[in-house]
């Protein structure tokens, strides 16, 4: 049996329209400044690998065959 949904609340109307469960999803905690620093550090690592790929493609002769395809 479908549980009754209080449609007086606007958010419930959207939930029903989207055919989604009305049980409230536990919210994930907002990222802390420490998490932001980790994200920034990982972005730096990805960028460093990117630059390393440029250097290798530009100066390492065996890898130069890949240059045409980026």
């Amino acid at each position: 049996m479908t549980p009754a949904v209080d449609l007086s609340k606007l958010e419930n109307v959207f939930v029903v329209l989207g055919n989604r469960s009305t049980t409230r999803r536990p919210r994930r905690p907002a990222p802390s400044p420490r998490d932001d620093m980790k994200t920034l550090a990982f972005f730096g690592v990805v960028l460093a690998v990117d630059l390393l790929a440029v250097v290798f493609q530009s100066y390492c002769p065996p890898l130069a065959v890949f240059r045409g395809a980026g």
Binding site: S21, T39, F42, V45, V46, D50, G70
Partner: protein, 160 residues
């Protein structure tokens, strides 16, 4: 071939601003590496011009990063094969777009048979390359304590 693989990984593993920033850097690097100067027309005496103008790839990479970023929720649940697929598709799309830009600028639209091989083969190799790249980044993320995989909670399991 390396740039689309890294772009696909960044778009899947980083938050939206990070994905866009990576697309910007990747686009600039790609343009700087592949820039070619030509004279328009066989006998023209005019100034040299770039085959693909600097900055076009930034837009293209940005659009691809936004599209691939949409798969991030699935990627965070452990679908590493999405990176493989996205790498191949990004490589083929970038090469195809670059070829189209060049042919439009030169004033013709030619599709020789070798073109498909030269687009699809790098795409295939990018898919192969994406597997070691994924695991290398996985260990780097682990070393930095950065989360690239979340546990599926009961709420998610019920919705499936």
């Amino acid at each position: 071939m390396v740039f689309p693989v890294i772009l696909a990984y960044g778009a899947l593993a980083l938050p939206f601003p990070g994905a866009l920033a990576l697309a910007f850097c990747n686009g600039l690097l790609w343009d700087a590496l592949t820039v070619q100067f030509i004279r328009p027309g066989a006998y023209a005496q005019g100034p040299m011009m770039e085959e693909v103008a600097l900055g076009w790839s930034v837009v293209l990479f940005g659009v691809l990063a936004v599209l691939v970023h949409g798969l991030r929720p699935l990627f965070l649940r452990g679908r590493w094969d999405l990176h493989c697929l996205a790498s191949g598709v990004c490589t083929v799309v970038i090469l195809a777009a670059q070829y189209l830009m060049i042919t439009f600028r030169l004033g013709g639209l030619i599709f020789p048979k070798t073109l498909w091989v030269r687009m699809l083969l790098p795409g295939f190799f990018a898919m192969l390359l994406s597997v070691p790249v994924y695991f290398a980044f996985y260990f780097l993320a682990d070393a930095l304590d950065y989360t690239v995989k979340v546990e599926v909670d009961d709420h998610d399991k019920r919705r499936r």
